[in-house]
């Protein structure tokens, strides 16, 4: 599934033109990206949380050469799936 499929879905089910659907779907991801860029988390009930984590600098190793290097401090995005989603995925198991 890519953005094109989502746009088609919005167009088919919600009665927007293809052009408007594309613009609206793009906006949804833009709003999310802007928020995450500010370091704020996004909680979607029933789906999961996207959150930014602060990572401290640490010593790492180049796995190929074995050379020790410094991994700089960074902010990374993580996703924690909701219980509801995990249950839905394992319903058949």
């Amino acid at each position: 599934m890519t953005k094109i499929d989502i746009i088609q879905n919005v167009c088919d089910k919600l009665g927007f033109s293809k052009k408007d659907s594309a613009k609206i779907v793009e906006s949804v991801f833009d709003v999310m990206k802007d928020h995450l860029e500010k370091g704020e988390k996004i909680k979607i009930s029933g789906f999961g949380n996207f959150m930014v984590k602060e990572k401290k600098s640490r010593r790492g190793r180049n796995p190929q050469s074995g050379q020790e290097i410094e991994i700089t401090a960074r902010r990374v995005l993580t996703f924690k799936s909701s219980q509801v989603l995990r249950r839905a995925l394992n319903a058949r198991a």
């Binding site: 599934m1 989502i6 089910k13 990206k33 370091g39 996004i42 009930s45 995925l89």
Partner: protein, 95 residues
């Protein structure tokens, strides 16, 4: 920001009614859930991708009591952040 915050921001940005914005956001995440349920992969350029990873059963431990238990096989969603968003978020190393 939660889902209603996202809906509100979308409504404002795209000049939509709250109802329409709610429908859009719900449809997107419903679509994600359905795609993942069917084992499909979701890829949003500039944002990231979501896939389902399968885990075999393994011997785990109850961290509280220390007793050994069998963890049954499971499927978990995994999110990989896209390059663009990864760089946007990593403001620490931005110069």
């Amino acid at each position: 920001m939660n889902k209603s915050g996202l809906i509100e921001a979308l409504a404002k940005k795209e000049n939509l009614t709250e109802k329409k914005a709610t429908d859009v956001v719900n449809l997107i995440f419903k679509g994600f859930t359905d795609a993942l349920k069917n084992g499909g992969r979701i890829e949003i350029r500039g944002f990231g991708s979501l896939i389902v990873r399968n885990y075999n059963s393994y011997k785990g431990r109850n961290p509280k009591t220390g007793s050994s238990i069998e963890v049954s096989p499971k499927r978990l969603p995994f999110f990989k952040v896209g390059k663009e968003l990864r760089e946007m978020v990593n403001t620490v190393n931005k110069t």
